[in-house]
């Protein structure tokens, strides 16, 4: 079976819009939160989000959007994008350059793309509103492809002339982790030689605010306190958007192109809670099973894992479930496994989370650091026994695990290895 490597990354995130600034934020534990102007109304209880800097996507008309000048995007492409499509397009361009891919490497039958986003509730709402106000025949002919779930893959496949495997993943906050897992499988099974895996979310009012109705958002107005995974005082997650793109390639392609990968994808596993539509299993049963499956698939013992980038979103129930799952999987080895949730810095990227945080793991494996637990003052007693480093550690991990969980109790774990 061919081995699979991560050879390129692209970022448009709340903690940086390129690999260098993301790395600095992870090393120095700088968060990407700001008080979000549209939330500053008495009737909106949450105040903070992880903002995407240097991008302006407030208008429903893409031609009004602003983005860094280095990205040249034709109107023909822009007109069908949701905000998350714009973020992803820019992250794709970065990842392609980072992996040193020529046009012919991107567009061929052996190169595919998996994407994960929740679509664009913002544009869906906008276009539906026009439909009711001005009538269906005066609606934008491109409203559908710009807004429905799948808009991300539609746009990227067309813009980058992808000819291989492609589809979108929809398992909420586990979506892009699922995409990574299945992309890995396609490469291992010899179906493809290279896969782009893309996570992206709008991260605006319409994407984030509905979670307030579920009472899952932090109501903290202080950007320094709002996202505190595993902390006793945590009160919910902070939303964010943006995009991350990973390039996965088989070892043959890596050798042929002579590139140095970030990390190896050893394997992955998934399992479902079979429990509740929105609440994670109290013992983290699905999460634990996913981690065990991943370790077995990766042929790795719990004792070999150096770091777990946790799913922990800073919600009351979820963080405890995952802590229990980690305890069940790592048992006596728990103290040697560093655990942190980088959502303390970025906020929760929903569909984007698994890809974004896997890319963080890849940066850490290449550059020799293990991200610490930002904003953690008093660990929740329920999380006792977890090794939660308060600062980023400058040490080389060999094997790291990335957890993601989504609605319906879908759990994914991915295992990455340093490239010597």
């Amino acid at each position: 079976m061919p081995r699979v490597f991560i050879t390129g990354l692209g970022f448009v995130t709340s903690i940086g819009n390129d690999a260098a600034s993301v790395t600095r934020s992870l090393r120095e534990l700088r968060h990407g939160f700001e008080v979000y102007p549209p939330f500053q109304k008495p009737e909106i209880p949450c105040k903070v989000i992880g903002t995407i800097k240097d991008f302006g996507t407030d208008s429903p008309d893409p031609e009004d959007w602003t983005f860094p000048e280095r990205y040249k995007i034709k109107r023909e492409l822009l007109r069908t994008m949701a905000p998350n499509g714009l973020f992803a397009h820019c992250a794709m361009l970065q990842a392609i350059a980072d992996a040193q891919l020529a046009d012919a490497d991107v567009s061929n039958a052996d190169t595919g793309l998996y994407a994960a986003s929740a679509g664009s509730p913002y544009l869906l709402h906008h276009h539906h509103d026009r439909l009711t106000k001005v009538g269906v025949m005066r609606c934008s002919p491109l409203g559908i492809v710009a807004s429905i779930a799948g808009t991300l893959n539609f746009n990227l496949i067309a813009a980058f002339k992808i000819q291989g495997t492609s589809c979108g993943f929809s398992s909420a906050c586990a979506s892009s982790a699922h995409a990574l897992g299945y992309a890995h499988d396609d490469l291992v099974l010899g179906r493809q030689k290279r896969m782009f895996v893309v996570g992206a979310e709008d991260g605006n009012v319409d994407a984030i605010l509905p979670f307030a109705g579920m009472r899952t958002l932090s109501l903290q107005a202080d950007p320094n306190l709002a996202s505190r995974p595993f902390d006793a005082a945590r009160d919910g997650f902070v939303g964010t958007g943006g995009s991350t793109v990973l390039v996965l390639e088989t070892e043959d392609e890596v050798a042929r192109r002579g590139v140095k990968p970030y990390a190896e994808v050893l394997g992955w596993g998934q399992a479902s809670d079979g429990w509740n539509v929105a609440i994670s299993h109290p013992e983290g049963s699905g999460s634990a099973a996913a981690m065990n499956h991943a370790l077995r698939a990766a042929k790795v013992e719990p004792a070999q894992v150096d770091y777990v980038n946790a799913h922990a979103t800073s919600t009351l129930i979820g963080d405890v479930s995952e802590a229990r799952a980690l305890r069940a999987v790592f048992k006596e080895h728990l103290p040697r496994v560093a655990v942190s949730s980088t959502k303390a810095l970025t906020g929760h990227g929903l569909s984007l989370a698994g890809a974004m945080e896997s890319a963080f793991c890849a940066l850490g494996l290449r550059d020799g650091f293990v991200p610490g637990c930002a904003h953690l003052a008093n660990p929740d007693a329920e999380c006792a026994g977890l090794n939660l480093p308060r600062a980023t550690e400058n040490r080389q991990a060999d094997i790291v695990m990335k957890n993601s969980s989504g609605f319906g109790g879908a759990n994914v774990a991915l295992v990455y290895k340093r490239v010597a």
């Binding site: 031609e63 034709k74 109107r75 023909e76 025949m137 005066r138 002919p141 491109l142």
Partner: protein, 327 residues
């Protein structure tokens, strides 16, 4: 784009516009709708909305098309040649066409049906189309693409003297192609051991394209068609041959009507091989006559059911062959 659109006559609403008072809030709305168009486009739209004078329409239409064309292609629109093709020359796909139409509808307060759009291939087609809609005139015949077997079926001229392999005909021009096969009988003698397409035959080919235009594209009188047996050559002016054409060359022919008044139709014509000029004819004049329409001409996609059409073609059904040709 959904193709399963009803082509029934009842779906067509192209009544002339009743002048409506143009309120200040309409102007603000218009300014917002045209915010990415040139100031002159906005001005033309304001004038049209105030006066309903169709003379302002071309400026609005060109301004809206320009706004949707990629900046590096906009230069082409500056000296807007009506033959400029929307897809090939301006990179406008069917979705962009929809965007153009929706904005034009919005700005000129009119409605356009999907099936009317499919036939618009050039800037000229769009201008003529909108103009006819505004004036409440019957819509022009769309550009028709005529394959080789159909060329022979409608032409009074037949092989081995037919020099058109394929052609497209609109109400304003006709274009055709002919590949010199080397098997043409006259090449045996023209010249000895040196086959060269005679200039007179190339002029003949342009004349044949003009005949096809008269039969398939030219405007007619109600209940009449141009009889294929009534068309004859009368004269030509300013003919120049620029290039020797030999077997293997593909002649690209085009003609445009300059004047048309019963019983004479005068065209300008040119032949190119690739980018090279081969033959120019400043004027080719044919004579023609009308005959009673036996099989009433059925408008393509029922487009002639606008007011002004006097009901000579009561059937809204479009013959399948024609539909296929325009698909």
């Amino acid at each position: 784009m959904p193709d399963a659109v009803s082509t029934s006559a009842s779906a067509h609403k192209s009544a002339p516009l009743a002048p409506k008072p143009f309120a200040p809030e309409d102007e603000a709305q218009l300014r917002e709708a045209l915010k990415r168009c040139s100031p002159s486009t906005f001005e033309a739209a304001v004038q049209f909305r105030k006066t309903t004078n169709p003379e302002h329409v071309p400026a609005v239409v060109i301004g809206v098309i320009e706004r949707f064309v990629e900046p590096d292609l906009r230069m082409k629109l500056k000296d807007a040649d009506d033959d400029l093709r929307l897809i090939e020359d301006l990179g406008i796909d069917s979705l962009t066409m929809m965007e153009i139409v929706i904005l034009v509808e919005d700005v000129l307060t009119m409605s356009i049906n999907n099936d009317e759009l499919r036939n618009l291939r050039t800037v000229g087609d769009v201008k003529t189309f909108i103009d006819c809609k505004i004036r409440g005139l019957p819509l022009p015949k769309p550009t028709k693409f005529i394959p080789i077997e159909h060329v022979a079926a409608v032409m009074p001229i037949q092989p081995p003297f037919l020099f058109l392999n394929e052609a497209s005909v609109s109400s304003t021009s006709a274009n055709g192609k002919y590949k010199i096969s080397g098997q043409e009988f006259f090449l045996q003698g023209h010249f000895k051991d040196n086959p060269v397409m005679p200039a007179s035959i190339m002029l003949e080919a342009l004349g044949q394209l003009a005949v096809l235009y008269l039969l398939e594209g030219a405007p007619t009188e109600p209940g009449k068609v141009i009889g294929s047996g009534t068309i004859f050559f009368t004269g030509c002016e300013g003919v120049r041959a620029h290039r020797i054409c030999k077997p293997g060359d593909i002649l690209t022919l085009s003609i445009k009507p300059k004047r048309m008044k019963m019983p004479l139709a005068t065209f300008e014509g040119s032949i190119r091989v690739g980018q090279e000029k081969a033959v120019i004819a400043e004027e080719i004049t044919l004579t023609f006559g009308f005959v009673e329409a036996v099989d009433a001409p059925v408008p393509i996609n029922g487009a002639a059911h606008a007011p002004g059409s006097n009901g000579t073609s009561p059937s809204a059904a479009t013959p399948p062959l024609r539909v296929a040709m325009n698909a």
